[in-house]
């Protein structure tokens, strides 16, 4: 057997089996300097939780503070496009440190809080039922295009308060925004197209909501603008963030969760026996077991001595959710898929002040999908036992997932 290069984050091993790959790092060198990509790789659950909760030591303003050229490299003629992307992203809430972060989050947080979100559950359950009514008679589907992709766009469109006939267009925009996490050298072109089109599309809605507020998310941001807490640019880029942040992530929860159930028929049978009783802990276990987001980043805001390793101001850091969620020091039998696991302190939504704004919404979507599937589909059979993943270091995204139930 050849030994694996644990510094090649795009290797077939890292993409295909992040649990084996990053698990090996976690057990051998949990605070690892990756010389190839020039960044720290953090893999222990306790270390990640500590780091992410100390936001004053580890900045989220990665794009603003990291002056290194984009990686993987981009087409040389795209420098200006890259600057546009930088400007766009650096105003998003996820890229802010305190005190700006607290102000921005204060405006949008209550809209997404559990009590407020619960009101959207019936809409989500209906959207799931509509999709499944159409799919069920076919006896099979590709989970990604047929179920996992349409649901989040439908839900976000509703939350944003845009008309249903615009959904298809929003989905096109979302697809372009997803180039943020891709490696193709031409990616700045579709990405800036998507960002510019998003700004153009959303602007008239903001104008309207400034005059006539409604119960949607754009109204919340427009009120923030009225109160002087957001400027117009920030309103627009954060609306785009919402469309983007809730898209591929939720898709992956649905697809990776369905795959886990297909590979663990005993757990599927158990959920089917009591969908209402088990769907919440089952959704948490799907989030933990095969997390939609594998890793994310920080940039050191001061020199930190971390278990004897010297992290210096300005050092880049990736923290590996996929490794933390399988850490034997945090979870009993971490590689087992157990839908009754409780408590389940996974870090799939991060931790600390940037804890996922859309976590309650994503949970609702996951719960309603798995509940409906459990009620309607007795057996999940993979058409092809081998699956393939997109070559992203951030997202755990299946390329396709054909299944059948006949």
């Amino acid at each position: 057997m050849t030994s694996i290069d644990l510094d090649d984050l795009f290797s077939a091993e890292a993409i295909g089996d992040p649990y084996g790959f990053f698990g090996a790092l976690r057990e051998s060198d949990p605070i690892h300097w990756n010389a190839r990509h020039q960044l720290w790789v953090i893999t222990r659950h306790a270390d990640i939780v500590w780091m992410v909760r100390h936001h004053e030591l580890f900045s989220s303003a990665v794009i603003r503070n990291d002056q290194r050229p984009p990686y993987p490299p981009i087409d040389p003629e795209d420098k200006e496009r890259f600057e546009y992307v930088r400007e766009f992203r650096s105003e998003q809430v996820v890229e802010q440190d305190r005190p700006v972060h607290a102000t921005m989050r204060g405006v949008v947080h209550p809209f997404f809080a559990p009590t407020a979100m619960e009101a959207w559950r019936p809409f989500i359950a209906n959207a799931v039922a509509d999709l499944l009514d159409e799919i069920e008679p076919r006896g099979g589907m590709d989970v990604l295009p047929d179920l996992a992709a349409p649901l989040p766009v439908r839900v976000i469109a509703q939350l944003m308060g845009v008309p249903p006939e615009d959904r298809e267009y929003l989905r096109e925009l979302a697809d372009k925004l997803l180039y943020i996490n891709r490696g193709e050298s031409y990616r700045m072109k579709p990405l800036t197209e998507g960002m510019r089109a998003m700004v153009e599309y959303v602007t008239p809605f903001v104008e309207k909501r400034l005059q006539e507020p409604s119960n949607d998310f754009i109204s919340v941001l427009a009120q923030g603008e009225k109160a002087g807490l957001f400027d117009r640019h920030q309103v627009l880029v954060n609306t785009a963030l919402l469309l983007f942040a809730g898209h591929e992530t939720t898709m992956n929860l649905i697809a990776n969760g369905t795959l886990a159930f297909a590979r663990h028929p005993g757990q599927w049978a158990q959920l089917r026996a009591d969908p209402d009783g088990l769907v919440r802990t089952a959704t948490e276990e799907c989030l933990r077991y095969d997390a939609p987001v594998k890793s994310t980043q920080r940039i050191a805001a001061s020199d930190v001595d971390f278990h004897g390793r010297s992290i210096r101001t300005g050092d880049r850091i990736r923290w590996i959710i996929a490794a933390a969620n399988r850490d034997p020091l945090a979870f009993a039998d971490p590689d087992a898929f157990d839908i009754t696991r409780q408590p389940n302190p996974h870090v799939s939504f991060g931790a600390g002040i940037h804890y996922c704004l859309g976590s309650t919404l994503a949970r609702l979507e996951g719960q309603e999908i798995f509940r409906a599937l459990a009620r309607r589909v007795p057996k999940l059979v993979l058409d092809d036992p081998e699956v393939e993943y997109q070559p992203s270091i951030q997202f755990r995204s299946l390329k396709s997932l054909p299944i059948s139930w006949r």
Binding site: H54, G352, Y355
Partner: protein, 74 residues
């Protein structure tokens, strides 16, 4: 008469999001693990405490009436 609240934070759930501390610094503080602790449930109005509880993204904040024992959140 205003209700008297019994308030505590479930540390198996709290992710240290800090929204409760932003909502009422008189009632909630972060401990050294950056999890929330209740210092004085009576230091702010019951409405403020319930607002913090409703906005906790993981529903870690537990609220009961100290008078009737009734569960107020979640």
């Amino acid at each position: 008469m205003q209700d008297v609240l019994k308030v505590w934070v479930d540390h198996t759930r709290c992710v240290g999001n800090g929204f409760c501390v932003m909502t009422s610094e008189k009632v909630f503080v972060h401990n050294e693990d950056r999890q929330s602790e209740v210092i004085d449930p009576g230091a702010d109005t019951p409405e403020k405490v319930l607002e913090a509880a409703r906005n906790c993204p993981v529903s870690a904040i537990q609220v009961e009436s100290a008078i009737t024992g009734a569960r107020l959140y979640p």
